[in-house]
Subunit: 462 residues, 2 copies
C-alpha cells in the first residue's frame, strides 16, 4: 500500500486535488493510466474517465477502446470516448502526427473540463517519463525549461504519478491483479526514448542504485532557478517588445496608414538593444526556440549577429533575417506565385489586394498619395497583372531616367527583404507600372499629352 | 590546427586572457595539462609552469616530477615545483585526501600568482571533465550549481580547454608528437567517473552522435538561471542572517555580556521566517548543503520541520538541531569530556574558561550577577572540578527546595541543547555547586551562618 500513501502525500504536498474535487482521468488502457485511474479511485476521488481514439493504430486502437469501455462498465466508471482523425488534423495544421495528437488531446481535455465541471484532468506520467524527457532534452542541448522535468501541475493538468516510477506502477497493477493493454508503437517507433529507458537508465542505476530518485531530485532543484529565469526573460521580452505572436502589427510594410491589403507582419528586434540586456544570448535563445529554431542554429545566429545584412535562417515554420542591425522574424510561408489579371471594365478587386480603379480627366487635379497611382490610360494594355516581385525585376521609378533593379530600389529606400517580398507589382505587358504603395513607373506617368488617366487606389483597412 | 583556433576564440569570447598576460599553467605531466601548456605557448602566451607533487603515489609521483622538469628544461619553460605532504594536511584539517589535494593546489596557485605577478592560472579541464562532473552531480541529486558545468573562469583560475574534448586533446598531442605521463590512480580509484567516461558517454553518443556538444550546450543554458538563482538565494540568506561562517557571534549562550570563556556559537534560523520566503525549500537546501548535509537529509529536514523539538541531523562537520520553531546549526565537534581540577590556593584559571576567585567576608556586600557565584567557602571541598554536563546531572537551583534535572532546568529556561552542552559546571565532590553563567546550588548559597565567601567570577571578553 506504499504507492497509495506516496501518491496521496504527493497530491497534498503539490496541491493537485482537493478531496471533494471531480477529476477527469485520461485513460488509454495502458499500464500507467490504468494505475492512475485505480489509484485515484482507491483514494476516494470522484473520477470520470476520458478516452481518445486517435485512429492511428487501426485494429489495435479499436481493441484499446473496447478494453477501456469494458473496464469502465465493469467498474461503474463514467466514461467519455472521442474518436479523432489525427492524420487529417496534422495535415490541415501542417504539424507532425505527434504534435497533432498532443493538440487534439489537450483540446479535448479542456472541452471536457468545462462540460463536466471537473476541477482537473489527471494524466499518467510517472518519474521515468520525466527522466526520459530530461535526457531527450539534454541531448538536444535544451534550456532549463527542458531539464527541469515534467511539472506535476500545469494549468488544469495534473500528474499524480510523478512521484513513483514504472516499476512501482507495474507492481501495483500486479498486486491488484489488473490487466492492461500495451501500445505496440511504443516498442518500435520511439527509438530514442526506448534506448534511454532500456539502456541508459539501467546503466545509471548500476553506477548509483538510487539514480532515478537522485535525478528527480536534481530536476526539482531546477524548478526555482527556472522560474526566476523565466520571469527575467519575460520581462526582457516585454522591454524589447518581443511579443511571441504575430497577432499584433509590429512593423508593417506601409506604416503611414494600415491597408487591409497588406497583412504582412513580422517581429523586428534591434540587435544593439538586445546586446544591452544582461541575458542577451539567453533572450535570443528563448525567443527563437519558441519559433522552432534549433539550438545550434541559434548559437550561430548569436555569434554572427554582426555579420552581413541579408543572411536568413530557417526553422520549420519561421525565418529570421539579419537586416542592418536588426533581426526580423517572419512566418515561413510559401510565397504566392500566382498572377492576378485585372480585366478592362472592372473597377474594383479584392484579391490579392483591395484595389479600386477610376477613370479621370487629365486636366483635373489628381490625388497624390503612395496609395494611389495615376497612370496614362492610353499606354496601359489590359488585362493588367498583379504579382509578387521576381528576381531581376526592374522599373523606371518616377522622376528618374534609367531602369533600376527593384532590389536596389528597395535597398535605397532602406526597405528589407520581407518588405520587398510582401509588396505587389502592377504590370502592363512586361512593364512594372506601379510598385503598390511605393512608386509608379516614369514611362507611365501623366504628362501634358495625357488624355485619360486611370487612377488605381489601395483601399484602407477598416 | 583546428584546436588552436577553437581555444583561441574561446579565450577571447570568455575573456580568459589578454595577449600580454603572463599565465601560470598547472602542469601535472598528463595529457590534458601538457596539451594546455603547449597550446597556450603556441598561441604566444607567456607561460610559467607550476607543478605540485602531492606525494601520494610514491615512485610514480617522482617519475611525473622528473618528466615535468625535463620537459620544461628542454622547452625552456620557467617552472616551479612544490612538494606537499597531502596526507598530513588531510589529517590535520580532518578532510578527505581529495579535498586536501584540492585545497593545497589552490593555496599554492594563489601564492604563486602573487609571487610571479601572473594574471591567471590555467588548468587543463576539458569538456569531458565537465560532462562527467555533470553526471556525478546529477546522480547526487545536486542543485543547479552542480549541473551548470565547470566554469571557464572562476576567480583567477581559467580553463581554456573546456571548449574541446578528450579526443581532440589526444589528437593534438599525437599530431605534435608529444609524449605524456598517465596517472595510474585514474584507472583504479575513480570508479564512478570512469564508469561515466567509459560506458555512459559512449552510450549517449550512440543515441545522439553529437551528445557531448549538446550536453555542453545544455549546461551553458543553465548559467544564466544559476546566476539569477544564486543572487536570489544570497539576498534571502542576508535577510535571514544566515551568514555562512561561524566567525561572527550569532546567538551566544550568554547574551547579556560576551565572555571570552564562552566561544560557543551557532547559527539560528527562525523556521516561520524561512517559510515566508518564496524560495524557502531552496534556501534551506543551499544553506545546509554548504555545510555538507546530503540532499536526501535536507529533504527530510524540510519535510519534518514542524516536528518535535530536539531532533538532530548530522553532516560530517556540522549538526542541525530542531528547537522550538528554530533550526540551530553548530559545528559537530567531539565534546570536551575532560575534568579540570581547581586546586585550593589558586585564584585564577584560563582553561577551560577564564575564571578568577576571591575570598570575601560574609558581612560585606557581595556581587550579584550571573557571571559571579558567591558560595559558602566552608562547604566547598577542594579540589573543585569543572566539567561539561553529563546525562542525569541534577542540582538544587538557588531558591528552590528540591533537586532538578539539569535538562529540565535548561528546558524551563528555554535554553536549547547546544546551550546546555556548551555550559560548564563547577562541582564540589559529587555536587554541582554552580552552573556557570546561570545559577548556583541552593545548598551552597551564602546564609546568615556563612563565615567566609568564595566568589568565582567569569572574566569578560575584551
Amino acid at each position: 500500500m506504499d504507492l497509495l500513501k506516496k501518491v496521496n502525500s504527493f497530491i497534498e504536498e503539490q496541491h493537485l486535488l482537493k478531496k471533494q474535487d471531480k477529476v477527469l482521468v485520461g485513460f488509454s488502457g495502458g499500464a500507467d493510466s490504468l494505475a492512475l485511474l485505480d489509484v485515484l479511485r482507491s483514494l476516494g476521488y470522484n473520477c470520470v474517465a476520458v478516452h481518445m481514439n486517435f485512429q492511428l493504430r487501426g485494429e489495435e486502437a479499436l481493441r484499446d477502446e473496447d478494453f477501456v469501455v469494458d473496464y469502465c462498465r465493469e467498474h461503474s466508471i463514467a466514461l467519455y470516448v472521442e474518436r479523432v482523425d489525427t492524420k487529417a488534423y496534422a495535415k490541415s495544421k501542417s504539424v507532425s502526427i505527434e504534435m497533432a495528437a498532443r493538440e487534439l488531446r489537450y483540446d479535448y481535455f479542456h472541452k471536457m473540463l468545462s462540460m463536466t465541471g471537473a476541477a482537473r484532468v489527471a494524466v499518467g506520467h510517472h518519474s521515468d517519463d520525466s527522466i526520459e524527457t530530461f535526457f531527450i532534452n539534454l541531448l538536444r542541448g535544451s534550456g532549463i525549461r527542458g531539464l527541469k522535468g515534467i511539472s506535476p501541475l500545469q494549468g488544469k493538468v495534473i500528474r499524480p504519478l510523478l512521484c513513483v516510477d514504472r516499476q512501482e506502477i507495474l507492481s501495483w497493477l500486479k498486486q491488484r491483479n489488473l490487466q492492461y493493454v500495451t501500445d505496440s508503437s511504443n516498442q518500435e517507433t520511439l527509438y530514442r526514448r526506448n534506448k534511454i529507458r532500456h539502456q541508459l537508465i539501467p546503466l545509471l542505476q548500476s553506477i548509483e542504485p538510487s539514480a532515478s530518485a537522485a535525478i528527480v531530485r536534481s530536476m526539482q532543484h531546477l524548478t526555482a532557478p527556472a522560474s526566476l529565469y523565466n520571469k527575467a526573460i519575460a520581462e526582457a521580452m516585454d522591454r524589447l517588445k518581443l511579443n511571441n505572436s504575430f497577432g499584433d502589427t509590429q512593423d508593417c510594410f506601409i506604416q503611414s496608414s494600415d491597408f487591409e491589403s497588406y497583412p504582412e507582419q513580422y517581429i523586428s528586434l534591434d540587435i544593439s538593444a538586445l546586446e544591452q540586456e544582461p541575458l542577451a544570448a539567453d533572450i535570443l535563445f528563448e525567443w527563437l526556440s519558441a519559433y522552432g529554431f534549433d539550438f545550434r542554429s541559434i548559437e550561430q545566429i548569436w555569434v554572427r549577429r554582426k555579420g552581413q545584412s541579408g543572411r536568413q535562417y530557417f526553422s520549420a515554420t519561421h525565418r529570421l533575417l539579419l537586416d542592418r542591425g536588426r533581426f526580423l522574424l517572419n512566418e515561413n510561408k510559401s510565397p504566392d506565385n500566382r498572377l492576378y489579371p485585372l480585366e478592362e471594365g472592372v473597377f474594383s478587386w479584392t484579391e490579392p489586394v483591395k484595389l479600386s480603379l477610376s477613370l479621370r480627366e487629365a486636366n483635373k487635379e489628381l490625388p497624390r498619395s503612395a496609395s494611389c497611382a495615376c497612370l496614362d490610360a492610353d499606354k496601359l494594355k489590359f488585362p493588367l497583372l498583379l504579382r509578387r516581385p521576381l528576381p531581376g525585376d526592374s522599373f523606371v521609378p518616377l522622376g528618374m531616367k534609367g531602369r533600376k533593379l527593384l532590389s536596389d530600389y528597395f535597398c535605397d529606400r532602406k526597405k528589407n527583404l520581407f518588405q520587398k517580398e510582401s509588396c505587389w507589382l502592377l504590370l502592363s505587358g512586361q512593364d512594372i507600372v506601379w510598385v503598390l504603395g511605393e512608386r509608379i513607373d516614369h514611362r507611365y506617368r501623366v504628362t501634358d499629352s495625357t488624355k485619360r488617366v486611370y487612377c488605381f487606389s489601395l483601399s484602407e483597412a477598416k
